[in-house]
């Protein structure tokens, strides 16, 4: 089962530290020294603010990913506990973007690349769970209110187990109220 990062709207204050943390983790610390327009600032999670809530939304690393299913060039695949996009293969056809019900995929330019008409290549961009990056998902690490948590298979399973035991207990109490 894949892992995923999820935000808690009760803790999130909409400050977007996670969005910068994501870019820094993927682009590397040299971005604090180079021309800010020489790389693509492409956070892989997106802050959502409505009257009711503020929380970032990102890829849920589904088990039967709709994006993987529609990709015409097989650019999307499972790697470790995450679903990742090979941006070299991707040609920006947006099928995955249309297929994803969470809006977790957007299209971003690849800095320094160029198409035949001179414009930059534009490819799909989504959370890759910081796969290959030490100390795990940067957004979880930098969030000042711990609103983002990494949910692993083990944690999800144990949570389900706990809920089932609780359900069993309440069922038992219904039948034998005095005991």
């Amino acid at each position: 089962m894949n892992y995923f990062v999820k935000g808690n709207p009760d803790l999130c204050i909409g400050c977007r530290t996670c969005m910068i943390g994501c870019v820094v983790a993927h682009e590397g610390k040299h971005i604090f020294e180079i021309d800010p327009d020489s790389y693509t600032f492409n956070p892989k999670l997106h802050m959502v603010k409505t009257a009711k809530l503020s929380v970032p939304v990102q890829c849920k690393h589904c088990e039967n990913p709709a994006c993987m299913a529609v990709c015409p060039v097989g650019a999307i695949s499972r790697k470790g506990n995450a679903v990742v996009i090979d941006t070299d293969k991707c040609m920006g056809c947006k099928s995955c973007m249309d297929a994803c019900p969470f809006g977790a995929i957007n299209m971003v330019p690849v800095a320094g690349s160029s198409q035949a008409d001179g414009s930059e290549k534009v490819v799909a961009n989504k959370c890759d769970l910081c796969s290959g990056i030490p100390s795990g998902p940067a957004c979880v690490r930098v969030c000042p209110t711990a609103a983002l948590t990494l949910v692993t298979e083990e944690e999800l399973d144990s949570a389900m187990e706990k809920k089932r035991q609780e359900a069993a207990r309440t069922a038992y109490r219904e039948m034998y109220p005095q005991k």
Binding site: C15, R16, T17, I20, K29, F32, E33, P36, V142, P144
Partner: protein
Amino acid sequence: MALKQVQTTCPYCGAGCQIMFTVDADANKIVEAVPADGRTNAGTLCLKGHYGWDYLNDPQILTKRLRKPMIRKGGKKSPLEEVSWEEAISYVAAKLTEIKEKFGPDSIMGTGSARGAGNEANYLMQKFMRACIGTNNVDHCARI
């Protein structure tokens, strides 16, 4: 490269968060900023605390760091010319003295600074306005 750890207070909002910086002393540049265990921030930082330090290497995105004293020698609309500190200090001292004698100390207004300068600089500024110039005309942007 000689890396050293320096803890300091964030220059931005009033929460007074403590940040631990890794500094490369030889290259004279900041390598990393991570939260420190301060009384108010307890090991957390916001986006300005985490990522608000690279203005120090003067990327000139919006404006640029001032590097040398400058004077508009030809009056209000003339260009700024770089001068030495001695010339700048004596020029300011002379002009302020001249205006003080001509229009009195209360014709001079000074400001403190609520930002990076620090308490000691603000103390000296109000002492300068009060003891050297002779007026209480000192204020700063707490009011705006």
